[in-house]
Amino acid sequence: MKRHLGFWLAAGWAAVLVLPWHIGGFWPVFWPGAQQNGPSAGDGMPALIQGLLLGRPWLLASVLPLLAALAGLRAKGGAKGGADGRARSAWLTAAGAGGLGWLLVESLAVTQPGLGLGAAAYALACLVLGAHGLALRGWCKGDVFIVASIGLVLGSILVFVGFPVVTILLSAVQGDDGRLTVAGLFDKLTDSGIWGLGCVLGTGSTCGVAWNTLALAGVVGVLTTGTGLAFALIAVRTGFRFKAALRLASILPVITPPFVIGLAIILLFGRAGVVTDLLSTLFDIPRSRWIYGMPGVVMAQILAFTPISFLVLVGVLQGVSPTLEEASQTLRATPWITFRTVTLPLIRPGLANAFLISFIESLADFGNPLVLGGNFDVLSTKIFYAVVGAAHDQGRAAVLAIILLSFTLSAFLAQRRWLGRRSYTTVAGKGDAGLPSPLPSGVRIAASAVAALWTGLTVLVYGTILVGGFLKSLGRDNTLTLIHYQTAFGIETGPNGWWFSGSAWDSLFTTLGVSLVAMPLTAALGLLTAYLLVRQSFVGRGAFEFLTMLSFAIPGTVIGVSYILAFNTPPLELTGTGLILIIAFVFRNMPVGIRAGIATLSQIDKSLDEASLTLGARSFTTLRRVILPLLRPAIVTAMVYSFVRAITSVSAVIFLVTAKYNLATAYIVGRAEVGEYGLAIAYSSALIAIMVVALLAIQLLVGERRLGRRTAALPVSTSASKVNA
């Protein structure tokens, strides 16, 4: 324990003495002439140099907590719980609290450049020192690693999720003059542009953007649940032979950037689209712009979200015990009555769940309304235009973001509170030998029709994406060409050798780099959080769980706006850097890691941890040697999803990209907006291909868990035969 303490104390001193405290002009900046190199050069100096030489005396206070920690280290360690241990604990706790508290006050109260590497390292060192102090007091059964992890996860969520959300709330109540006005907020929140009912009452042509958003989400929620149910019924309750294909199709939305389906729909059903063309030549149906607006967005979102609701409902349907249906049949019920009175009521909570999930997805979707919306505004696009449009009204963006956030949070809370414990479909340990009853023929036909329609459209859409990139201009000039790929991914040889001349290379390299850096961080943070939630009990665990789950519900657009509001000025000045993209990805995708971790951890018998503990291993050793090897599937899932979601993400990052750090999705959306559809879908299909390769590579790299089976005792007979063999 003393060795660890020494290390973290040294890290604290290094943060103050060596590392650049603020974001500075130079790296490394320990350089005598640095001051002459511009006004910001000195900012890169360590805190102590700045405090002594550069007229920032308040920075000198940073050494006090470190001195306190030193005193704690020199206090006799003694047995835990002894009087000496108490003295050390007090010193260390004071050091941790003092250091973090000082950093918070200092960075918020004094106008100075943004905090840099030194400040970050200092905060981490203080956190761990304080955790040592609390663990000595017996927190978390005296486990330093657990206390420090809780502090780290909680602190980073507060800084990178809590702080931006609070900032957005504050900026909404800020008047134009910068003062806080609550009265103005009420007017802004109830603005007729948001809540107007013109289209229904006949007083105007359009409805408020909030009603648009809710209507869209409601319609999409219902239709998506229906389509998902149709597929789930086919997969679980019929002799359908291509179930593997269904599973394969369900990963499509994961690897498809969200707006790509919208793009394909324009190319198919737009005024000059392929299908429109066909209809007008064959049947003389006039060309129109009907697809732009709610119909198009609904269509794109159904295509995109059906697989999600399918996955939810397949699980639920499989959980319905066939014995119940057999019981109904032996009581003389026909298949239709059984379906209506037994099966449907049993899966009702699952249907509600699927609805709410699609509802939230639709609320948060940004890409499809952006490319297909036309004059049909929803909150997420309205937020975007408020920030980047001519109005450039961040206050209005904040107000809209608050409304959107309240919608998603309400739906999310409803899903958790109302449905959390309502499930009739538990899989018991008992064997259930019954056979599910056949679907009533009406239901079967309806499900097949819906599924066929969806499948047809999906094939059409992905066909368009894959083929369209190789055509000069899909629909207008169908000559085969590689021109789009050449423009995007050209490599030329020039006087300086080979160079990447394609216009897409920059954004592709940034995307891959940022995603690859974010991937392990996301997985590590998510799985650590899952471990704390599933395996540790500590005061405030419920609140901790709630806070981490909340970040599930924050739409990307809201994250994007809140990040530019929160991190545009010191103390955390991050906008315009690649770092903010990484941070946005980590905290946006962390919930996926948490979910994967929780699902896998709750399948791993807790007595394995306990066995390791009673054998003398501390929790960190247990985590490393027992839990992590068994968590491999969750690690794969978390890494794959964080990588893929980082690549396909558009809503959050479209606010954060710069000319220097542009991302693939933002680039594609930009191309699509100016009508370069060929280039946009060529780049999109390249992205999809990259993600498929990445999926396979990660799977190979991390590998399968060494055994699929857990510790449960085997039947004696099977093992005996193995022993004899």
Binding site: A611, T614, G616, T711, V716, V723
Partner: protein, 389 residues
């Protein structure tokens, strides 16, 4: 960081274990609970528990589910923290120490073998995380596996072993650390009936050969009687009775113990007078002479073991019960079952103005009674004890 464990360097023989603790500590109880309480929110799982366990003995915590026995075991291990009170292991106060810092190891109900490690790595795990060199640890692990009869299977994964073999790996993994106290949490519950008898004999033999201190949790009274030096029966988070198996069976402290340890019919009776240690007990019209156990004269209850009931056929229920010379009670067979080597009956007897159903077991299978037969019910004093009402 202090290492509490004394790891003797991988000696493995069948001789008594090397002195695990200094001689001075030997005299102290291996485990001691002083007013230990465990609360979960408003619910108290364990009330003010006091007991001590001598080194080298096998003590069983026995009780119905929810009685607090597993919680008590987990508090010894350090997997649960006591809400108040003091826990000593080998005379040292370990109340605030984590599981990793206590000189105990545990065999889990599910065995908790690490599924991603071979059984050799499983057994060596405790030694390697304790800082022993890998080679020496594997050597010691190999010896312990041989000790439990699994030589040659070192490279297997746990899932490739039978339930009984997995159980032995779990035992080897626990004893390789030569802990001061070895804990067993319902170790037989995942085995089939035949294996159970075998494994419990193995555990008892190992404990006696290696002179281990063992705390054993089970809800099965027969298992507890078979393996224990001493049994602590728990109910509702308290100790109901603490004694040797013979004590518990022959002198149950309460009606609960009498019924829980072996079957017993609880019969109302009247203690009417005494002569030395023996008292006169009247059951209906019959009179028995039994140790009075210092209870006052007046109403008491009798615990009657099923095989202490003698059924004599032919008694006519209509006849006056007083006439029966053997002091039997008139009864009628209500239910009969043939179980191969014995018969089981339920007999309805009128006692104290109400009908009492007695459960009887008789070895006579050749001349069984039938349902509806009138019988005379007698008691064999050896199988009857007075319990405090």
């Amino acid at each position: 960081m202090t290492h509490i464990r004394t790891l003797s360097s991988g000696t493995t023989t069948l001789e008594p274990a090397p002195a695990v603790a200094p001689a001075a500590a030997r005299a102290r109880p291996a485990v001691e609970f002083r007013s230990v309480v465990k609360r979960y929110g408003a619910f108290t799982a364990v009330h003010e528990l006091d007991f001590s366990i001598e080194a080298g003995t096998l003590v069983t915590l026995l009780g119905p589910s929810g009685c607090g026995k597993t919680t008590t075991l987990r508090m010894i291990a350090g997997l649960e923290q006591a809400s108040s009170g003091t826990i000593l292991i080998g005379g040292e106060n370990v109340t605030a120490r984590s599981a990793a810092e206590r000189d105990v190891s545990m065999v889990f109900q599910s065995y908790a073998l690490f599924p991603h490690m071979t059984i050799l790595d499983n057994v060596a795990y405790g030694l390697t995380v304790g800082g022993m060199a890998k080679r020496a640890a594997l050597e010691a692990a190999r010896d312990k596996l041989a000790l439990v009869g699994l030589a040659g299977l070192e490279g297997r994964l746990p899932s490739e072993l039978s339930g009984g073999q997995q159980q032995r790996v779990a035992v080897a993994r626990a004893i390789v650390l030569e802990p001061r106290v070895l804990l067993f949490d319902e170790p037989l519950s995942n085995l089939d009936a035949k294996m159970r008898r075998q494994v419990r004999e193995d555990i008892r033999q190992l404990q006696q050969t290696l002179k281990l201190t063992v705390v054993y949790v089970t809800h099965d009274q027969e298992e507890a009687l078979a393996v224990s030096d001493r049994i602590i029966v728990m109910a509702g988070g308290k100790i109901a009775q603490d004694g040797t198996p013979r004590d518990l069976y022959q002198r149950p402290a309460s009606r609960f113990i009498a019924d829980f340890i072996g079957d017993a019919n609880i019969v109302p009776a009247l203690l009417e007078g005494r002569d030395g240690a023996l008292g006169r007990v009247r059951v209906g019209m019959a009179t028995l002479t039994l140790p009075h156990r210092d209870l006052a004269d007046g109403p008491v209850e009798l615990a009657v073991r099923p095989n202490a009931i003698r059924l004599t056929p032919g008694h006519d229920a209509g006849q006056d019960a007083n006439a029966d010379a053997a002091g039997g009670l008139p009864g009628r067979v209500h239910f009969a079952a043939y179980l191969g080597d014995h018969m089981e009956y339920e007999v309805a007897v009128a006692l104290g103005g109400r009908e009492v159903m007695l459960f009887a077991r008789t070895p006579d299978v050749d001349a069984p009674l039938s349902v509806g037969d009138a019988v005379s019910v007698g008691f064999v004093p050896r199988g009857v004890t007075i319990v405090p009402p």
